[in-house]
């Protein structure tokens, strides 16, 4: 390594010499000689541009070419631990490492050289190609700068609306795929959904604050098999992999009624979370907490009403719900327990009594054998005597206003017009008045689509 030389005065040509790669050690020697001349200490600006150019001695190796690109960027972009505590380095001001290799090809640089073997063939026909320089590409710098400018922008991940979870780009509610296959057992038809994604920390002696991702997810095949699990890992990806595989290990079989709802109304609780679950007919949908809705989707329940009372803790809610589902009683079990026929009445079938289950040993109790205190109402029997609080439903406040009466009167005038319009379309083919046949201009305004159709017909 050459000894550093102190700088006294720097002329323009000297500055150019400094940064010129072909300066070399010879230049340094010349510089050393030329610089020691004016030792009287006076600044002589006239010296610059005088006999021999001043050369700035430079290093050819420094931190700049000793460190890797990653290390260099880390030095520029990183935030201290104290800074992180105060929330520095997040959001808009965050410096992002850029990949400077993008837009460049090996063999092509600032000097547009033709290197046979690298960026050009060695032989073109019979001719041997020589190393030569092509005219400089002026736009290359501009192009690279443009690429690097567009690199730094933080673009929001584009999520398909169907892939979205419960809220925005957050993980809860989003699917993370089926558990990984174990040997021959592949989890076909299974889907896992995240219910909770939390960052949890604990203090350790060695590292201090240890940060981990905790995921609570539920998996199911939409056909009665489901399981839930909680897993923690340092990164989100690891945690996702762990949780879905663990959930796949803890599957439960859940019985459903006609593959669309629970067998009967029930009540469950776990911790301070209580759930009242009601069986619903086809087409009702899942009217419940979003966590319970997600669980029902993976289990294969399509119609349900559930009211969560007490604390809405997602993990406790899930445990309570699963407890309730696996403790359901089948119709046959109920009939055997009670030693009576279990009969179903459906309003849409004119309340025809359909015997759903009879006691297996065909021993049915008579009226006299049933004690008076016995609970014969099925819902009360299953709820264990619990009754759900039914809150009184009040009419909306605008019903008390006079303007509401006027609104109802105006509705009454219009209430049959839709049916009249349909009837007219069926019999006449178009909506018209008594004058339309005689005076063609007396035709009511048609909707835009119909007018366009008519125009097309006229044109064609």
């Amino acid at each position: 390594m050459a000894a550093p030389v102190r700088l006294v005065c720097l002329s323009l040509p000297a500055r150019q010499l400094c940064f010129h790669p072909t300066a070399g050690l010879r230049g340094l020697a010349v510089a050393a000689v030329s610089v020691r001349k004016p030792s009287d200490g006076q600044q002589h600006p006239a010296l610059c541009g005088a006999s021999s150019p001043l050369v700035q001695a430079i290093r050819h190796t420094s931190f700049f070419n000793r460190l890797t690109a990653e290390q260099l960027w880390k030095g520029v972009t990183s935030v201290s631990n104290a800074g992180k505590k105060q929330g520095r380095g997040k959001g808009v001001g965050k410096k992002i490492a850029k990949d400077l290799n993008r837009g460049q090809v090996i063999g092509i640089g600032r000097e547009n050289m033709v290197w046979p073997g690298l960026n050009a063939p060695i032989l073109r026909g019979r001719e041997l190609i020589q190393q030569h320089q092509l005219p400089k590409d002026e736009e290359r710098e501009a192009k690279l700068i443009k690429i690097r400018d567009s690199q730094g922008k933080f673009r929001m991940l584009k999520l398909d609306p169907l892939e979205r979870g419960w809220s925005g780009t957050k993980m809860p509610g989003r699917s993370i795929g089926a558990p990984n296959a174990i040997g021959e057992d592949s989890f076909e038809g299974f889907d896992t959904k995240v219910l909770e994604l939390k960052v949890v920390t604990c203090m350790t002696a060695v590292f201090g604050r240890k940060r981990r991702m905790s995921i609570f997810a539920v998996t199911g095949n939409g056909n009665g098999l489901a399981g839930f699990a909680l897993s923690k890992a340092t990164t989100v990806q690891d945690a996702i992999r762990k949780v879905k595989n663990r959930a796949g290990q803890k599957l439960l079989h859940i019985q459903r009624y006609n593959d669309h709802t629970v067998l009967h109304d029930f009540f469950t609780q776990y911790g301070a979370t209580k759930i009242y679950v009601k069986k619903m007919p086809e087409g009702y949908g899942l009217v419940c907490h979003r966590a319970i809705r997600t669980i029902c989707e993976v289990v294969g329940i399509k119609d349900l009403h559930a009211k969560v009372e007490g604390i809405c803790n997602v993990q406790n809610m899930t445990k309570a719900f699963f407890l309730g589902l696996i403790n359901q009683k089948t119709h046959q079990q109920l009939a055997n327990e009670k030693k009576l026929h279990l009969v179903e009445f459906r309003k849409e079938q004119l309340n025809f009594p359909k015997v759903v289950a009879s006691p297996e040993d065909s021993v049915v109790r008579t009226r006299a054998e049933i004690p008076q205190e016995e609970e014969l109402d099925l819902t009360r029997y299953l709820m264990g005597g619990r009754v759900q609080l039914q809150r009184k439903k009040y009419p909306p406040p605008y019903t008390k206003l006079y303007s509401y009466e006027l609104y109802l009167k105006s509705l009454a005038v219009r209430r049959n017009k839709e049916k009249v319009k349909l009837d007219m379309l069926v019999h006449e083919g178009e909506v018209k008045s008594f004058y339309t046949d005689k005076y063609p201009e007396c035709r009511p305004m048609q909707p835009k689509s119909l007018r366009q159709e008519q125009h097309q017909e006229v044109d064609a």
Partner: protein
Amino acid sequence: MMEAVRVAATAGLRLAWTAVTSPAARVAAVPRLARACTTIPSKYDERDPAPLFFDPNVQEILKRVTGRNYDKIFRRRYDEKRLSPPKYEFLTDEELGELREEMEKKAETLLQMPPVVKQREPIMDVLSRDPALVGFDTCRYIFTDITYGVTDRKRFIVVRDADGTLRQASWEERDRMNQIYNPQPGRKIRSHRVFEEENLKNVLDREEYEFVLDLACAQFEPDDPEYQRVTGRVYETLEARRCYQILHSTRHYGPLCFYLTWNKKIDNLLTTLIQQEMLSEGADIVRLYYLIHPDSKSAGHHVDLSLPLETIKAYMEQDSLQRAKLQLAIQAYQEIVQQRHQCQEDVKAAHGL
């Protein structure tokens, strides 16, 4: 001779087929006729069917033949009403029996048959002619008596024409006025376009027989010629396609059987019933035939109630119009019964019983 050989050969093949398939499969496999209805539906316009239809014996037969498939009678109707969750109850044997009896009565009301009556005569009654009133107005006036408590049939509806004639309103005018002043649910002032020939053909191709019949019942009176045309058309289509069982356990099965028996078209029905091994119903149809046509050849014969096959055979020999087919069906049935019996004997022997 050749015909007999051909009949025997076909009988052999038919036997093999009938031994393998179930009754339901056999009926389903019968090929549907491409031209569904080339016959013009006949109307009840000459002889009045009402006294016969309302005869207790006839009613009893028709009710018995209709069947009581409670799953079908109490099936869910798609009437755009919101579903409510099912209710469950624990019941003892007695309570269940009581409920079942109630349901039977309810089923009776649901299976009440629409009446079969003669077509109505057009009203030509003129009350007075006043040529002095000519030119009093350009339109005619219809006066309807809307007194409360008067039925639609007995209501006075008169028309003053533009030429001064005061007459009783025609049946169409009567229906329209009654629907305006005393609307019946499910009835429209302008009749549905489904009953036009083209649209009717469309709906029948889609096999929505019960839908059309229910709509006709709601829209028309039983003596309306339109009602009789529409129902006749549906019955003819069913007869051509041999799918009578679609109307089984509904209120339209009785009038269907009555229509076919009235027009002496019960052979296909009997064949279908024999193939489905519903012999008692077949015998009931034959008895109905004798009640409606007492002047038929085999009517005078003693009818043994406990042998339905004999009844059908007696009918077949004397009055049947498609004897060969019916004979074939009876033969096939007898052979199946024999085979089955034989099979059971063999099984018993194998088990050493």
